[in-house]
């Protein structure tokens, strides 16, 4: 499991990650509460999956303005 913390645009981040499918790594939302969303991932290396998730969110045009955190749950 990985988590994403963000006070803003969390729904958009969920949408970005649920649409992600690269190198056999996908993310599926497990829970969303307040500023925190957790995802199950098909990636076996959780650290790498969290890094990929962070990189994917950072690609979005709005991401540079947002304070967010991605980590292994």
């Amino acid at each position: 499991m990985i988590f994403v913390n963000s006070a803003l645009y969390l729904d958009k981040m969920v949408a970005v990650l649920e649409a992600y499918d690269q190198d056999g790594v996908t993310f599926k939302l497990q829970s969303k509460q307040g500023m925190r969303a957790t995802f199950a991932t098909t990636g076996t290396d959780l650290d790498a999956a969290a890094k990929a998730a962070k990189a994917e969110i950072k690609k979005q045009s709005w991401a540079s303005a947002i304070l967010f955190q991605v980590g292994v749950a």
């Binding site: 006070a7 803003l8 304070l67």
Partner: protein, 457 residues
């Protein structure tokens, strides 16, 4: 709170995101960031020379200074090749990132921006040499120099004074004009196409030929016309009429405090303040900082009191919001197991000014209890540090220090080992501690109330 967040998501974040994604501003921010190895190498050399030469000489340790002369000379070489000509590196990075932002060849963008910069600055080097004999003047004049009012001017020579921080805005403006012409022509596809049999490197160079030449001729015409009508180099005029007033404005208390306040408010609502404000922070206070480092390196009076590193040294200890102090307050006074657990985990990263675990762990973001201290403590710390520095009780920041340098040590190093700076950082931390403390205790009580334990109420 949800209503505020909805408003932010609808109106503020799109604007902040727009600002944060404007290619020009992103390129400007990335150009400053890309010069980090140069800034740090120059700062390290300046710092070492202060330790090996400036201070020992003041303490009468001439024997020591003589013994370490080779190291001092090596440091000087590093300084001259880095910070002294900082605007050259910036011009290169500016052209590269600007071109890349618009998906055209960055290497050509680098060269065009560099060339435009050199066209924009004064290409006559002047040196004050009062009282030259008539014979000397005649010899120098024969060699092509001119001598008037005690000043010797050598044509077609770039003075290092015009290659440093004083010419940063010239690099920005001329680099931007030239690169934009280049990008525009590339996008219009006005270029020479080579057959597929030509090697890619050659083909690429020919593709950028017409846009590159056109861009540089535009700059040449602008500088020629300006010089012809005003008798002054465009770069000199830009430095005096645009750069100097802007940097001067950045020295006002109002602007310094406003930026400090905005960064905190942005953070609290989950907006990456320093990212959004980076173009302003770097172009105004970053430029001032480089000017201070150069002045320190040459033994001149420091031109600016408040620079980019001042925020790191006196305000953002443990990360934005001065959160290392909050962690200490929680570890000592909080009765909440969850907050103590976060503080223990976040303390080590906090020592290196990384506070993501605190921002979301406690959390601070959108936490109404911590809103007031998170805003008030840094702004008050900024005000104290600003007025103490302006009053001259502590020397201004004159060395670039990596932002991960632990609190207090950061202030000490950034000011070239001014012990008063360390004291100021410590005093600010103590003040921030007492601002945070009542709110930590209030937060502690909230949790106890929720758990139904009346003993801590």
């Amino acid at each position: 709170m949800q209503a505020i967040m909805n408003l932010l998501e609808k109106y503020v974040v799109p604007v902040a995101a727009k600002i944060g994604s404007i290619p020009w501003l992103v390129a400007l921010r990335d150009s400053f960031i890309a010069t980090l190895p140069i800034t740090m190498a120059g700062s390290l050399a300046t710092l070492l020379n202060a330790l090996l030469s400036t201070y020992p000489a003041q303490w009468g340790m001439d024997g020591f200074v003589n013994a370490v002369q080779p190291i001092i000379q090596i440091d000087t070489v590093v300084s001259i090749g880095s910070l002294t000509i900082f605007a050259v590196f910036f011009a290169a990075m500016w052209g590269y990132h600007l071109a890349e932002a618009y998906q055209v060849d960055g290497v050509a963008g680098t060269l065009i921006s560099l060339s435009a910069f050199f066209m924009g600055i004064n290409s006559n080097a002047s040196l004050a040499v009062p009282g030259l004999s008539k014979g000397a003047v005649k010899t120098l004049t024969t060699a092509g120099a001119t001598y008037a009012n005690g000043s010797l001017t050598v044509p077609n020579a770039f003075a290092t004074g015009n290659l440093g921080s004083a010419s940063l805005f010239t690099a920005m403006i001329f680099g931007a004009i030239a690169t934009v012409v280049y990008i525009w022509l590339m996008k219009k596809d006005i270029s020479i196409k080579m057959p597929d049999t030509v090697p890619p490197a050659v083909s690429k160079a020919f593709t950028t030929l017409i846009p590159g030449i056109a861009a540089l001729y535009v700059i040449a015409i602008i500088t020629y016309l300006f010089q012809a009508f005003t008798g002054q180099a465009f770069g000199d005029w830009l430095s005096a009429t645009i750069q100097a007033p802007l940097l001067h404005a950045g020295q006002g208390a109002g602007m310094v405090l406003l930026v400090s306040l905005l960064v905190q408010v942005f953070w609290f609502f989950g907006i990456h303040g320093p990212n959004v404000l980076a173009p302003i922070l770097e172009s105004i206070w970053g430029t001032s900082q480089i000017a201070n480092i150069q002045a320190f390196q040459h033994g001149d009076a420091l031109p600016y009191k408040w620079v980019r590193g001042s925020f790191d040294a006196y305000v953002w200890f443990g990360g934005s919001g001065g959160t290392i102090v909050l962690l200490i307050a929680i570890l000592i006074f909080s009765k909440r197991a969850d907050e103590k657990a976060v503080a223990k985990l976040a303390f080590a990263p906090g020592l290196f000014n990384i506070n993501e675990p605190v921002m979301f762990g406690l959390p601070i973001v959108l936490n109404a209890i911590y809103f007031i201290p998170f805003i008030v403590a840094p702004v008050l710390n900024t005000a104290i540090a600003y007025f103490v520095t302006v009053a001259g009780w502590v020397g201004p920041v004159k060395i670039a220090v990596p932002w991960i340098t632990p609190p207090i040590l950061n202030a000490l190093m950034a000011t070239g080992f001014d012990w008063r700076a360390a004291v100021l950082a410590l005093v600010n931390m103590i003040i921030a501690f007492f601002i945070w403390l009542p709110f930590v205790m209030a937060s502690s009580r909230v949790q106890v109330d929720e758990s139904g334990n009346p003993t801590a109420a």
